[in-house]
């Protein structure tokens, strides 16, 4: 569904590259996570894939279209949910979706159904300008589904949402995946990537450091850990110990034997920890 070969991009049209010779492919029906901190090149890459930025070097095919050739009809197959909400504040939620539906050449979804899906049906006749940040974000998200996209670009889809709404959004993304939608998810939130993505790419300083499934990455880079809280001389102590190292295993046994255990949790390495391990950089 997406094919990128040797893509580079410079905003200043010189050798100062925001994206450096990256290559990757996204299969049909896959949810692909593009992970990295701010300024890593995520948005630049997504901007090129969605046509907001002009392709300079490399080859890019999106939904079967060579994006160097201007073909607006490709957007009939594409949906884009922006990180920054960008809806018409003077139009109602329903008017926003109805207007966008008119811009596509393919059968579109019922705007009311979409508003219901994101929990905005009761506010359908309210102007978007009166909405909270989270509500605008949901409206932007709902709008990206109006044309039943085969390829869905999601830029930080749960950022700024409360946990309950974020859970609804994640369920919708899973539901669309079940319907065969391909998703390109750009985020710096490793937890959502871990939950939703089939494969992830780590990008930093414009370069892709690795691409793999979250499971493989955890197996390859992760270390099995035990987090233990115990009482020692009236004080609560906390330690994180590796189950694969003999000395740590012995220490766990000693603690259990000698002290009163408050909590004991097994713990896998998170994608964030793996990202730091691989790139040497944090995600913020």
């Amino acid at each position: 569904m997406i094919s990128v070969k040797n893509l580079s991009h410079s905003y200043s049209n010189d050798d100062k590259l925001a994206v450096k010779n990256i290559s990757f492919e996204v299969e049909k029906g896959e949810t692909f996570g593009f992970l990295g901190p701010s300024g890593a090149g995520k948005s630049t890459t997504q901007g090129i894939l969605t046509g907001l930025l002009k392709q300079q070097q490399g080859e890019v095919k999106v939904a079967g279209y060579d994006i160097k050739k201007v073909q607006n009809e490709r957007f009939n197959k594409i949906g884009v949910s922006f990180e920054q909400s960008n809806v018409y504040s003077k139009l109602t939620a329903l008017e926003n979706l109805k207007y966008y539906a008119d811009l596509f050449d393919v059968p579109t979804r019922d705007p009311l159904e979409l508003l219901k899906l994101v929990g905005l049906d009761s506010r359908k006749n309210d102007r978007a300008g009166e909405f909270s940040k989270g509500m605008k974000h949901r409206l932007t998200f709902a709008r990206s589904m109006i044309n039943r996209p085969e390829l869905w670009f999601l830029d930080e889809p749960t950022t700024g949402l409360d946990p309950a709404i974020a859970a609804i959004i994640k369920d919708i993304i899973r539901g669309e995946k079940a319907n065969g939608t391909t998703s390109f998810l750009t985020t710096h939130n490793m937890y959502i990537a871990d939950e939703l993505c089939d494969r992830v790419a780590f990008i930093i300083d414009g370069e892709i450091k690795l691409i793999d499934t979250p499971k493989n990455l955890k197996q390859q880079y992760g270390k099995k850990l035990v987090e233990i809280e115990y009482v020692k001389e009236g004080k609560i102590c906390k330690e994180t110990l590796k189950t694969v190292e003999e000395s740590d295993r012995k220490k766990i046994a000693d603690i259990i034997k000698a002290h009163k255990i408050q909590t004991l949790h097994s713990k896998e390495a998170t994608l964030e920890e793996i990202f730091i391990q691989v790139t040497g950089r944090g995600l913020i």
Binding site: T44, E73, V80, K90, L103
Partner: protein
């Protein structure tokens, strides 16, 4: 259909915003001011130009008499520069037209008298007496005010020829007849010895109508230019252009729909002023064609300028300079002596001239149509450039 949807959406947004009503309110205010505060015809305090074809001894006696009566006071000489130009004088009684054409500026000296209210001594006007009739007619035409020639026949009877501007009512002309008649029975015989003539034929604009071309030109052009930029900056602020670009609809639709919104408001606001003031005088087909073409040009220009900036505050300096520059031809319109060649190259100059001609009902159709084509072609080029600029200036 996409452009229709986008246009309907834009009209909804415009009608729910502030800028849409600015133009309408300004048009209503302008109409109110023109109807209430601007008189159609000049009042009694206006200046007049006179030529007296009377023997000097008679003239001196008349001035002495008027001075003694306290109705006139000599105040000195005034120098006038009469502009070059062409005009026509129509004899109302015979229907005969006479054309005048002058290629050079002429300086003349006029004896200047203050006209006084004999009871209060208040100055009620000024009369300038010229040495020859031709200079008097030229000045009367240049200054857009009344002129008169007084002659005396061999029997000692006076005759008067008035040179009016063409917009005066019949009632005003009748008052001029009566001014020199002492009894009602004398009116007919006196009337035989008076001829009123109007300068410039029937195409003159009265004081109120003369404001209309300026209002239309600047409301349509400058407000369109400014308001379309405001709409674009609002969209930029909300990020909706990015959302539009990732749909199958082209950027042309977006830009054109913005222009259509401006054209709609310009047509409404202009009609509010033009129709009640001008009534059936203008050629409305020509007027709306010219209005649409000029608004298209200035809206496209606004789009192009807006493509270079992110916010209206960043664009304000450029916006201000452009608007002041475009307003300069208004000085030429109101101050006839200010008409440098360079000002004619500003697009608002032919705009004012075109609207002036249309409002008079005497438009030079070829001139108006040539500039209609120029405005449409120019607008098309600016729109194409704006389209390129918008594509290039999209960011993530």
């Amino acid at each position: 259909m996409k452009i229709l949807s986008t246009y309907v959406k834009e009209m909804k947004i415009a009608s729910r915003g502030f800028y849409f009503y600015i133009e309408i309110v300004i048009a209503l205010l302008a109409l109110l001011i023109l109807l209430v505060a601007v008189k159609e015809n000049p009042d009694g305090k206006s200046e007049e130009f006179l030529y007296n074809d009377i023997p000097n001894e008679v003239l001196s006696a008349l001035y002495e008499r008027d001075t003694e009566k306290g109705v006139m006071r000599f105040v000195g000489d005034t120098e006038f520069k009469i502009k070059a130009g062409a005009f026509t004088v129509l004899n109302r009684d015979t229907g005969v037209e006479k054309s005048f054409e002058y290629n050079e500026v002429k300086t003349v000296i006029a004896k200047t008298y203050q006209k006084l209210n004999s009871d209060t001594g208040e100055v009620i006007g000024k009369a300038y007496v010229l040495e020859n009739e031709e200079d008097m007619i030229r000045l009367s035409n240049n200054r857009g005010t009344i002129g008169a020639t007084t002659t005396m026949d061999k029997d000692g009877n006076f005759s008067y020829k008035y040179f009016l501007q063409g917009y005066e009512t019949q009632r005003y002309s009748d008052v001029l007849y009566l001014l020199h008649t002492f009894t009602a029975e004398d009116i007919d015989t006196t009337k035989d010895r008076q001829i009123t003539r109007e300068i410039g034929g029937s195409g003159r604009l009265n004081n109120r109508q003369a404001v209309v071309p300026v209002f239309i030109a600047f409301s349509g052009a400058l407000m369109g230019f400014f308001i379309i930029m405001s709409y674009v900056f609002l969209d930029k602020d909300q990020g909706v252009i990015k959302a539009f670009v990732v749909t199958p609809s082209s950027l042309w639709n977006y830009l054109l729909s913005k222009i259509f919104v401006i054209l709609s408001t310009v047509i409404i606001s202009s009609s509010i002023v033009v129709i009640p003031i001008m009534k059936l005088k203008p050629n409305y087909l020509l007027f709306y064609v010219f209005l649409i073409a000029s608004s298209f040009l200035f809206s496209a220009f606004g789009l192009l300028i807006a493509s270079f900036f992110d916010t209206i505050s960043k664009a304000f300096g450029v916006l201000y300079i452009i608007m002041i520059g475009l307003m300069l031809p208004a000085f030429s319109y109101y101050i006839s002596s200010f008409d440098p060649i360079w000002i004619r190259f500003l697009p608002t100059y032919p705009l004012l001239e075109g609207f002036k001609g249309i409002m008079k009902g005497q438009a030079d159709i070829i001139y108006v149509l040539i500039y209609t084509v120029v405005f449409l072609v120019g607008g098309g080029i600016l729109l194409a450039l704006a389209n390129l600029r918008f594509k290039k200036s999209l960011t993530v």
